[in-house]
Symmetry: C2
Subunit: 96 residues, 2 copies
DNA sequence: ATAACAATTCGATAATTATAGAAATGTAAA
DNA sequence: TTTACATTTCTATAATTATCGAATTGTTAT
C-alpha cells in the first residue's frame, strides 16, 4: 500500500462530518438485515443534520478512497464499509 | 477516543509529505541508538527535499495531533513516534 | 562577543475543500 | 405521463492549508 492511497484514506476520514457518516454506515451495516433500506443518503442526512449535496459529496470522497462501497437500490443509495481496505489502512499503522 | 481527536490525527497523516516525515521519524527511531543525533528537522529536510519552514510546520501538526513527541537536543530537534496514540488510532479502525 | 548553524515565526500566496442553494437527473408510484 | 421523492451535479463562497522567502530566535563553538 503506497503513501498516496494511504493518505487519501486518511484525508477521507479527516473531516469530522465525513467520519461520522462513515461510522453511521458501519453501524447500520451491523444492525440491519440487508433487506431493510438502511444507510442511504436521506437517512444519514436526517441523523447528522447536513444537507443532501454535502452528504453526496462526502459519500463520493469515501467511495473514491475505497473505504465504502455504494450501490443504488431503487430511489435509495445503500452503502457498506469496505472492510478489506479499512484493514489495509489499519495495517499501515502497525509500526513495529 | 472522540471523533475530534481521531480526525485530527487522520488529518495530520493525510498530507503525503507529512506522512513521509512521520515514517522517516519512525524509521530513524528504529535503527538509531538514542545517543545519535537522528531524526531532526535538518536531517529530514535533506532526505525529503522540503523547506525547513514547511518541515517545522508539519512537525508541529504531528505534534499537536499527539502522534510524535519532540524534544530539543542542543541545536537539533529530536522526534519520536508516540506509539500509544498511534495504537489508539489503530484501535479506532477496528470496526468489528 | 560574534560567527555559524538549526529551527521557528511571520507574511504572503496558491490550492484545496466543506458547505449550501438551485437546478438537473434518476426512480417509482399514482 | 405526471407527481413525488431521492440523489447528484453545478456554481459560488468562505475557510483551511501547504508552501516558501525573509526575518527572528535559539544554541554552540570560536
Amino acid at each position: 500500500m503506497d503513501t498516496k492511497k494511504i493518505t487519501k484514506m486518511m484525508k477521507a476520514l479527516s473531516n469530522p462530518n465525513r467520519f461520522e457518516i462513515f461510522m453511521e454506515i458501519y453501524k447500520s451495516n451491523q444492525q440491519a438485515n440487508f433487506e431493510d433500506e438502511e444507510c442511504f443518503v436521506y437517512d444519514v442526512m436526517q441523523r447528522l443534520n447536513i444537507g443532501a449535496p454535502t452528504i453526496s459529496h462526502h459519500l463520493k470522497e469515501l467511495s473514491n478512497a475505497d473505504l465504502i462501497i455504494t450501490e443504488r437500490r431503487g430511489k435509495h443509495i445503500v452503502a457498506r464499509v469496505n472492510e478489506e481496505t479499512v484493514s489495509h489502512l489499519r495495517d499501515a499503522l502497525i509500526l513495529d
